[in-house]
């Protein structure tokens, strides 16, 4: 029950922060679903008792791969789905506990909690890196324009281009024409 409530919180929170980032309306639900999937993977991994960093890594990897797949399917930048999607993975409570421990001058606890929060944040970064690296191979091919730097010498100079001024904008500051 509490897990369902949290899942609802993830959905609402991710979609609402997507609105904050001005994500296009047609992508809001997809961004929220990417966030939900990442969080679900993180929770599932956490149930097995492995380190929270592994959960954050796999969650971020899920978000990144989902975002890239959605980007291909919906013809939008992957950022649109990934940026709101990783917010539920952030180790906010742990970082907050570390800060509280620092304020109480309990340096042992602060180091423990802070290290765990840092490692989880690093896990998110590494998960994003892995997802991007895995999908770069299937990206759009970069357009190739043939190199122009040295025109062949056999072409006579007089046949080269004569400047014909045909401006595309009559008045460069008038955007209406």
């Amino acid at each position: 029950m509490s897990l369902l409530l949290k899942a609802l919180g993830v959905l609402v929170g991710t979609a609402a922060s997507a609105v904050l980032f001005n994500v296009p309306r047609s992508a809001l639900l997809w961004a929220a679903l990417a966030g939900l999937m990442g969080w679900a993977v993180q929770v599932r991994v956490g149930l097995n008792g492995v380190s929270p960093a592994a959960g954050a890594l796999l969650g971020a990897l899920t978000v990144s791969l989902t975002g890239e797949a959605l980007a291909r399917a919906r013809r939008m930048p992957a950022l649109v789905f990934v940026v709101p999607g990783i917010l539920p993975l952030v180790p906010g409570t742990r970082a907050f506990q570390a800060m509280l421990a620092l304020l109480r001058q309990d340096h042992g606890l602060a180091a423990l909690e802070g290290a765990q929060a840092l490692v989880a944040a690093g896990g998110i970064a590494v998960g994003l890196l892995m997802g991007t690296a895995l999908t770069r191979a299937w990206g759009r091919p970069t357009p190739q324009v043939l190199p122009l730097s040295s025109p062949p010498p056999e072409r006579p100079r007089k046949f080269r281009h004569r400047a014909v001024v045909l401006p595309l904008w009559k008045d460069r500051n008038d955007l209406s024409n």
Binding site: G9, V19, L20, L79, G92, P143, V145, L148
Partner: protein
């Protein structure tokens, strides 16, 4: 009449040329077929697209790729160097037209990133002319950010309060934290608008400070409330998620300078956030 003439020139640039000029036999002559004025127009469109992308928070690799795509759609070679703070574009290989632009104000506006992405796609497919793309980019450059129009402003307030209460559920809040979280989100948005002109790290610091102080004040009204949940949920929308994502994507695309710069940006933002929360918590004596 002059307008029709200009239209045909723009069409020629973006559609007729692209099929024939990709061929190996014409490739070397492409830039000699475009006159200086046309090169300048291509440079202007490339620069405008890059400015919109950088100012809206796109990753650097996307900026350079978009610029190359626009050039390829017009049949000219374009080289560019983009950083998170500016762009240099050089259009045409032999005697290039080179322009640069600084981008000083950066916001997060995914709609504009998606719009420029779609624009470069349709320019490449020959569906719109260079001129139409230039006009659309001019409109995007001049259109206000998401937080300025009054309707979208209301939407932002609603979004931040919903985000805060959603994350309050996530970090272990119950029904009694929901309404305070909604109010806290509204307040965080209000502070966000006020501190937006300040330097970014100071703005995040002040916003985190305001969130933690107000969460502490809410305990005076409702003593049984969980203030930690409120603070953590209140600062999650302030986290540097975009900077972290962009750092990862730029590093993997080989954009080392931009990747490292964005990584430093995200670490500094997180530090400012932590400092604001620390100061607020100790001022309110929440955890003596």
């Amino acid at each position: 009449m002059a307008g029709a003439h200009l239209d045909s020139q723009a069409e020629r640039l973006s559609t007729d040329f692209q099929g024939s000029l990709r061929g190996a036999e014409y490739g070397q002559w492409v830039d000699t077929l475009l006159d200086r004025a046309s090169l300048r127009d291509v440079a202007r469109v490339c620069l405008d697209a890059a400015k919109v992308l950088i100012a809206s928070g796109a990753e650097t690799a996307r900026v350079e790729e978009t610029v190359t795509r626009i050039g390829a759609a017009c049949g000219v070679e374009v080289e560019s160097i983009a950083t998170p703070t500016g762009i240099t574009v050089s259009v045409g290989g032999d005697r290039p037209v080179t322009r640069l632009a600084r981008v000083r104000v950066r916001t997060i506006d995914m709609s504009k990133v998606a719009a420029v992405n779609a624009l470069s796609r349709s320019l490449e497919a020959g569906e719109i002319s260079l001129r139409a793309a230039g006009n659309e980019l001019g409109r995007l450059l001049q259109s206000p950010g998401p937080s300025l129009g009054s309707r979208s402003r209301r939407r932002m307030y609603l979004a931040q309060s919903l985000a805060t209460s959603g994350f309050a559920l996530l970090v272990g809040g119950g029904p009694k934290e929901l309404v305070p979280a909604l109010l806290l989100g509204l307040l965080a948005r209000l502070v966000d608008e006020r501190v937006a002109p300040l330097p970014p790290f100071l703005a995040v610091f002040l916003n985190a400070l305001a969130v933690s102080i107000c969460a502490g004040l809410s305990r005076l009204v409702l003593p049984e409330i969980n203030v930690d949940v409120l603070i953590v949920a209140g600062v999650i929308p302030l986290l540097p998620g975009l900077a972290l994502t962009n750092a990862a994507r730029d590093l993997m695309a080989g954009e080392l300078i931009a990747g490292v710069a964005r990584g430093a940006d995200s670490i500094l933002t997180a530090a400012a956030l932590a400092g604001g929360v620390c100061l607020g918590v100790s001022l309110m004596a929440l955890h003596p």
